[in-house]
């Protein structure tokens, strides 16, 4: 086993230099371009980015849900000491649902409409564990109880359409955790839910994370829900990792202009003027025609400060601005911090 430089030895999952490309009618889609991160059991990593930033594809590539007959996946994904990239399909299938599990965005469509909740739960258990049908059923009821579904003994025989959205997402969580996987990926799992239910589901994930000692990857476009939960944050843009840092640093000392833009777009009650959000100008880049140079340059309001035109010419390297804080930006460190301070001061309500 080769020991990667960027890999923490205690990490349960470590991804390094992950690249995912799909062919399409218009050309090669550069969905993910050289992303690295790692996550330890009991910790939560948030992957944040706009739609099309490659965050979901990253998750699906880890899970082996990207169709490898079509897409090319390269780089390294180490899960509990095993390399997943290039692993035969059948072996990878044996790990899915057992060591790593995933919950998806829309609980309405993610459960099969024709099967009872209990059958869908036990299916996940029966395929990976040697269990009798009745043991699997008791396990399913126990899991439903643990995710806070009332009367689990009856609910186990319900069909998905008989449950509310929040209940269905609880069922999805129960299904994902039924084999006690050490890695749980939640892909926009609260986006489709009411705000109050969102909070309940996030609380549930956090609670179960402690119980099961799970490493959690929380994929979201909403920086607002990340603050309380995540230990580390990875910000993705145009398929690239543009900033990675412990959560507190992302909120209090961000350095990448895109991260600043994201923070600036979050509506906050403590702001002076809640009616004025500052959206990032322009649109995310097409993954087929990624801009030369820095992917964020066309939308970056500070790129003129880099006078040698590097933003247009070269993709910036990921540099470690502080220990554990990585940034991909051509702006000099002092300049980045000056800009960030200015933006954060506005956010805090001071007249800038």
């Amino acid at each position: 086993m080769s020991q990667d430089v960027g890999r923490k030895p205690e990490a349960y999952l470590s991804v390094s230099d992950l690249v995912v490309r799909f062919p399409s009618e218009d050309g090669i889609v550069h969905a993910v371009e050289g992303v690295s991160f790692s996550v330890t059991r009991g910790k939560t990593l948030a992957i944040v980015g706009e739609s099309g930033s490659g965050k979901s594809v990253t998750a699906q590539a880890i899970m082996g849900l990207v169709d490898r007959r079509v897409a090319s996946v390269s780089g390294e994904v180490w899960l509990d000491g095993e390399e997943l990239v290039g692993m035969p399909d059948e072996e990878l299938r044996g790990l899915r649902g057992l060591k790593m599990a995933m919950i998806f965005q829309d609980p309405m469509s993610s459960l099969h409409p024709f099967y009872r909740v209990g059958d869908q739960l036990t299916e996940a258990a029966l395929v990976h564990q040697k269990l009798s049908k009745s043991d699997a059923r008791s396990l399913a009821i126990e899991m439903l109880r643990r995710v806070g579904i009332p009367a689990p003994g009856q609910r186990v025989d319900d069909y998905p359409h008989q449950l509310s959205g929040g209940m269905r997402q609880r069922v999805m969580i129960a299904m994902a955790l039924i084999n006690s996987p050490a890695l749980l990926i939640a892909d926009e799992s609260t986006t489709a839910l009411d705000v109050t239910v969102q909070a309940q589901i996030l609380e549930l994930i956090t609670k179960l994370q402690v119980e099961f000692d799970t490493a959690v990857i929380l994929i979201t476009h909403d920086l607002g829900i990340v603050a309380d939960i995540a230990d580390d944050v990875v910000v993705m843009y145009g398929g690239r990792l543009v900033e990675a840092a412990p959560t507190r640093r992302v909120y209090y000392a961000p350095e990448m202009p895109y991260t600043l833009g994201l923070l600036n777009s979050v509506p906050r009650m403590d702001r002076e003027r809640v009616d004025r959000l500052d959206p990032i100008p322009g649109n995310p880049p097409s993954a087929v025609n990624l801009p030369e140079g820095c992917v964020f340059q066309p939308r970056c309001t500070y790129s003129h400060l880099v006078t040698d035109g590097a933003c247009v010419d070269r993709n910036p390297d990921l540099v470690e601005a502080e220990p554990g804080h990585f940034v991909r930006c051509h702006l000099p460190g002092a300049e980045r911090r000056r800009i960030a301070d200015g933006v954060l001061a506005t956010l805090a309500g001071d007249p800038a």
């Binding site: 849900l65 299938r93 044996g94 899915r96 993610s110 099969h112 024709f114 299916e123 359409h161």
Partner: protein
Amino acid sequence: MAGYLVRRVLGMLVLLFLLTTTVFFLFNILPGDPARLTCGKACSPTIIEANRHRLGLDEPVLTQYGKFVAGIFVGRTFSPDSPEPIVCSAPCLGYSFKRGEQVLPLIMRSAPVTFYLAIGAFVIWLVVGISLGIYAALRRGRWQDRLIMTISLVGYSLPSFFIGLLLVFFVIVKWGLLPFPSYVSPFENPVQFTQTMILPWMVLAALNAAFYMRLTRNQVLETLGDDYVRTARAKGLPERTVIVHHALRAGLTPIVTAAGLDLAYLLGGAIITENIFSLPGLGALAVNSITDSDLPLIAGITLLTASLIIFANLIVDLLYAVIDPRVRLA
């Protein structure tokens, strides 16, 4: 669910009643004198009139209709005042003047042939059509998919009389692989029965299998992209389980609909195939009854075929509830 069933059965009865009425009046306004058909060339107006009276055709149309309907439920007697009355017990579908026989026994004699033909072909085309459809979906865009879709297109475009004649010419006449078809009951001579039926089964199956390949392929491709299929994969289920239990199951409804109606339609007689292979089934009987202008027999076969379709519709609707639990509570 029980209420739904009762409503459906009641609706079916109303439909059957309307159907019976339509068939009766349709055949009464058609040109042609049924009484004229009862005697051969050496016929005199007196005999025709006597026969007309004997069969009750001289009565007003509404009276005739009443007797026709009564016949279906309680049976009837033709020419009750003659020395040899014809007793037609319920369900009486009428009396074939041409053949001098009641309609129902005539139909019942031909029905088993058509039944074996239809069921055999049905099983073959479902197995072949659905499995090749799934396979094509899994190999989408590759040569296996294109080959299967081309075969399907060819199979779908060739008329059954062409495939039938081709098979007869090569398999029976040229290569002598099978004897000339001659129908016997499977209980009498199972070997000869199979030898006779195998080509007709293939002809009927070929046409339908082509359609089911396409249908299954498209259904599976559609559901393979659905979220719950991704969930099934994320659980680590084997690919076969994902395809069959998750993707195919979800796309089954249109396949079941088509299968139910196609089978019912076929049970009413496969006219062309039965004629090519000289099978004495309902299709052959229907053709003969039409060339003979045997109105009661045509009416009887029409009623039977239509009833089968109505009944199949009910079965299909009930199967929906088995397939899709959301239908059960609606």
